[in-house]
Structure formats: C-alpha cells, structure tokens
C-alpha cells in the first residue's frame, strides 16, 4: 500500500475533522491525506457526510469546524474564503451544479479562469484569447460551443451540467479536485465522456477525490485508494478492490466495520 508518491508532501491533509451545521454534528473525526498524482474514492450511504466533507474543504459557509484541521499544501486553510481556496487550486465539482439565470456561462468561465491565472501570476486572458482556450477544452468533454452563450447551467440537462463542471476543472487546472457524485444522473455514454475528460485533465501533480456510490465510475477511473464513510467517519480504507467488494456485498456489509470501530 505504500507507494513512492508518499515521499512527496501531501496536497491535502484532513486531520481528525469534526464539523457541524446548525449544531448538528455531521463529521465526527475524518482523516484523509492526498498526495500529488493520487486518486482517492470515497464511498458511503446517503447522509454519511461525504458531500459535507467536500463542501467544507471548499469553504461552504453553512458548516462550522469544531475540531481538527484541513491543510492544503501544508497551510491551514480554515480561515480562507472559498474564493481564495479556489484561486489557490482547490476545485469542487458539484453534485447539483447551481443554475444562475442571466449570467453568461462564457463570462463566468472567463472571470473564474482569470482569477486562478492571477493567483498563478499568469497573464489574464482577454475575451478573444479566452475563447481560443475554452474551445480547446470543450473538446475534452465533447461540449458544443453553444453552451457558452447560455446562462450558467440554466436549462442544462443533468449530463450537460456535469460536463460543464469538468470543463471548469479543465480551465482552472486545480491541484486538488473533489468530484462530488459527478457520475450520478449520467447515462453510460455521458459517464465515459466525463471519465475520459477527468483522466485527460489529471496528471502526476493533481490529486483527485471521487465521491461516488457506484463502481461504474471506478471502472473508468481506477482509484489508488478507496475509503468507506459511515456516520461522519471513514470506517475503512483499502485499494481499488475494496470498491468491488462493496459492489458485491452492499453497504450492509460495512455496518460490521462501523460496529467494530465503535
């Protein structure tokens, strides 16, 4: 299980994280560490805290960290605004991408890309240069350029929304991408497109966390580690075959682990 990658410093370290929303505890001591080039999968029942974990890492204001820490590139990010986290290279692919009426998708992508470029001390792109860049990235997710002139996610089908998320990931070139159920609601063709997009974007410097219920995404993108979450904790960590076991036995199988843990 020890790989060479471990010699590098982790991009993301979550240490014994406890968090709650409106005094309701959701995370109860999560620890996970992601190194450059690693792909992690987090699986678990609905309501186990997977999405919450991803939102907290991205800085959603509805959650309060009560204990523990999140480090990104060695820095504690607890006090960073969500936009600063994004600029420095944290990306969250939303399970339910938000519709924003009236705001052009193209303009949104450009402003976001430039915010990241500014952080990286790269030259900001004007509309023309940006269009060239975005057209190149559209191919990765097989999206038509007509999507660019529409309002953000408005009237997009489930699959189109998810592809738009991956397009954003491609443009922002994050250091860590947390993809929250990017596979849900996708038919098999869309799933392949999205998975191949993710694979093309990721490289030996990127860390990826895939949050999913299903093996089928993991057939396309083979994870280095699989974590099983239950009741706000990671109750088991293994390699990619753990996901296959889960697929075979269902989550009931994991109930025993949680009992063991308690």
């Amino acid at each position: 299980m020890q790989s060479k990658k471990k010699e590098l410093n982790p991009i993301l370290e979550v240490n014994n994280l406890f968090a709650s929303t409106e005094d309701l505890p959701i995370l109860k001591g999560v620890t996970i560490s992601v190194h450059p080039g690693e792909i992690h999968a987090i699986m678990g029942r609905n309501g186990c805290g997977k999405s919450t974990l991803s939102k907290i890492i991205a800085g959603h204001p509805s959650y309060t960290i009560t204990k523990g820490e999140i480090k990104f590139s060695g820095q504690d990010i607890q006090s960073l605004e969500p936009e600063k986290r994004a600029q420095s290279g944290i990306f969250l692919g939303f399970q339910y991408p938000i519709e924003i009426p009236g705001v052009s998708n193209l303009e949104f992508l450009r402003v976001a890309t430039n915010a990241r470029r500014k952080f990286l001390k790269k030259e900001e792109l004007d509309t023309f240069d940006f269009e060239d860049l975005v057209k190149e990235k559209l191919d990765l997710v097989k999206m038509d350029s007509a999507f660019l002139s529409r309002s953000i996610n408005q009237g997009f089908s489930g699959g189109e929304k998810k592809r738009n998320e991956i397009l954003q990931m491609a443009l922002l070139e994050p250091k860590i991408a947390i993809l929250d159920e990017t596979d849900s609601g996708l038919d098999i063709d869309a799933l392949r497109i999205v998975a191949s997009g993710i694979k093309k974007i990721s490289n030996h410097e990127t860390g990826i966390i895939l949050i999913t219920h299903y093996q089928r995404l993991l057939d396309e993108i083979k994870p280095d580690y699989v974590h099983v979450m239950a009741d706000g904790q990671i109750i088991k960590t293994g390699e990619s075959d753990l996901a296959l076991e889960l697929e075979k036995h269902g989550y009931e199988w994991t109930d025993n682990f949680s009992k063991q843990y308690r």
Binding site: A58, G59, H60, P61, S62, E81, P82, E83, R85, A86, Q87, F91, L92, F94, P97, I98, I100, P101, G102, V103, S104, E107, F108, V111, A112, A115, R116, F119, S151, I152, Q168, L172
Partner: protein, 480 residues
Amino acid sequence: MVSENLVKNVVSEPYKYGFVTDIETEKISKGLSEDTIRLISAKKEEPEYLLKFRLNAFKKWQKMKEPNWADIGYKDIDYQDIIYYSAPKQKEKISSLDEVDPKLLETFDKLGIPLTEQKKLTNVAVDAVFDSVSIATTFRKELAEYGVIFCSISEAVKDHSHLIEKYLGSVVPANDNYFAALNSAVFSDGSFVYIPKGVKCPMDLSSYFRINSGDSGQFERTLIIAEESSSVSYLEGCTAPMFDTNTLHAAVVELIALDDAAIKYSTVQNWYAGDEEGIGGIFNFVTKRGKCLGKRSKISWSQVETGSAITWKYPSCLLLGEESVGEFYSVALTNNLQQADTGTKMIHIGPKTKSTIVSKGISAGNSVNSYRGLVKMGSKAVGSRNYSQCDSMLIGDQAAANTFPYIQSQQPNSEIEHEASTCRISEDQLFYLQSRGIEFEEAVSMMVSGFCRDVFNQLPMEFAAEADKLLSLKLEGSVG
C-alpha cells in the same frame, strides 16, 4: 456617453458627483406665490400664453393635495422654504460655447460631459442643465442641417413658440397631478427636441441635469416631438451634490410621436441618494408620459434608477394611434434607506396597440422598492396586447419589494399577460461562484447584472456599460 476611465473612477468612490460648484448665482427669494411665478416668467421674457399656462397651473395646484397613495414615507415638504429659480450668473449674450463660465465647463467636465468645441463628445449632442437653466447645447449647427431642433426649452419658447404653444401640456395637462401642476407653474428650463418629418436623427441626443444648490428645487421640463416617419434616441443623466437636506426635483417630460415615428427615451438616474442613515438626498417626483398619436408610432422608455432618497415616477404611454407600440424597461435599485415607487401606465386607446413592460427591482439594505403599474384596455382597443414582467430581487433580509399591478379592461377582444417573480440571491449561488475563485462582491454584481440583462440590452451601449458599473458601485458593502 461616459468614458471607460470615468467609469473606473466611479467604482472607486462611493458618490463621485457629490461636489458643489462654487459659483455666483442669481437666486430669487424663497417661497411660492403668484408673484414668484410672474417673476420667473418675466425673467425669461415669456409670451403671455405661457404666463397664463403657469398661473392656471398654480391655481389648480393650490387646490390639490399631495398624493399619499405611493408606498413611500417622508417628512412634509415645506413649499415655502424652496427657492424656485436659481441660475449661475453669466454674461448676457453668449455667442459660442467657449464663452461659458469656465467654472461651469469645469463642472460638466468633472461629470464626464465635456462641452467645449475641442473636447465635446463626438457621438452625442448634449444639452447641459445647471440648476434652473440650460448652460449649453452642443452640435446645434450640425443638427440644424437635418432640420432637427435641439435646444433649451427657454430658447424654444422664443424661437419656436408655435410648437410650444401647440404641444406644451398636451400630454401632461397642467392639472394632471400635484407635482406636474407644481412643475407647470414654476418650471425654469429643460430640453426641447423637434425631429422633422422623415428624419432619422443622425446622433443620440442627451440632456444632463445637474442640481448644484442645496436649497433650490429643480423643475425642468422636456418636450420631444417626432414628426411622421422620424426617429430619435434621447438619453438623460442626472447627478447632484451631497447635502444633508432634501432637495425637491419635480420634472415633467412629454413625448409626442406622430405616424410611424419612434422615440426611445433612456434615463440613468443617479441623484444623490442620502447617506446610510437616510439623511439628505433628492426627492424625485417626476411625471413622464408619451403620446403615441400617430399610426404605428412607437415610444420606448428605458430607465435605470439608482439614486434619489425617494423616487416616484411612472413613465407612461398613451397608445392612441392604430398599431402603436409602447415599451417600458426599468431597473430600479434601492439601498440603505432609499424608497422607490416606480412603474408605468400603458393606456391602450387605439386598436391593435401593443405594450411591453419589463421591470426589475433590486432592494438591498433597509430599502423599499415597489413596482406600480397600470395596464388599461379602452373600449376601442380591439386586438390590443400587453405583456408585463415584474421581477424583484432581494439582497439581505431587511429589504422589501412590492408589486402593485393594476389591470383594467373594457375590451374583451384584447390580451393582458402579467408575470411576476421575487428572488433572493441564494447562498448556494454565491458559494458556487466563489468556489470558482470569483470574489464575493463580484459574484453579487454578476448576478445583479444577470438579473437586469433584459433591460440593459435595451439601453444604448455606452449607457448600458455605465449602468452596469453603477449598480455594482451602489451595492458595495450591501451584502453579507
């Protein structure tokens, strides 16, 4: 109309136009009586019919009551504590724009409206109004070649008296409402536009209204006449210094469109709004109305209302001509303790008339923002149609938005369609944009611009950019 640079400067300061020009002015004493009106009329050397028009309006005004049906509240206005005429002292006869008092030129320069021959804006003719009088009008000669008249209303009274006598008060009668009656009695200046038959006005026309003194009201009057098959696009901008007292602005705008004529009237209103505690600011009580007199004539109002402590205005269309078209596109933004009660009236009188209303109200802070609109189908308005869409956006949880649509139909063979919505910028939308690296304030202003897109698309290009920046500026610090 305003250069990119100026727009950038605007964004860096809360209210850039709050300065006062130190200039010698000729003011009459405070108070309003028949003598005041005779004095104003005499100063302007007006013909008898106009003095009569004023006195008649004054008599009616004295019998009228200030309206109280709007969803606004304010301290009583003491009409005897207002100066009704205030004009910067100038040389008697001015033969060229370059002879205008440098202080005035500098003022308009600072406002981004250079007037002199060397510096004037190239794509738009400007009539600059300072307190009670028009200071200068650019491009008059060039426009005259097309037969287009663009001058102050005082000059029009002298030089085109027959048009004034025929049309003044023909759309907004002197007794129309309390503030229109007051304006009819004491109006001091404003702009006059006449587009002759068949002429498409070669450039945009624009009036820039500047209130400078703190104790005088501004009562300007605008009259635009578009003859058969002519068209014009007219823009209006307004600013005022920051005073801790309230200044009354009661304007009247009348538009007349004959057969196949089209008038597009755009406003970006940025009067001083008062401070965060609601001290000071302009009381903006305005009557704007257009008459689609001719067949297939068209009047289109677009407005971006961001300033004033109180805004009370309902730019309206009287659709008389067969197949005439009325449009109203509005963005009204209120913040802090601002109050806006604005909307339109579309009065369908002729057959096959059409009207469109798109209103976007944004309320932030502790402000109140109401849409109030009337759509009326008269008994002869066979086959007429109206479409109204009124959307409100709330920012924060202390702001209020109201929609008061009034619908009256005496013609069963007509259609009225009304859609309304209220939304709040959701935390999830903000988080989504932020999670892509977009700063909080920018995220808010992106969403507000997006919300207003349908209206901004109707504005002349330079205005649209200005309006967009103005909104983000006004919203600074209003969220979170």
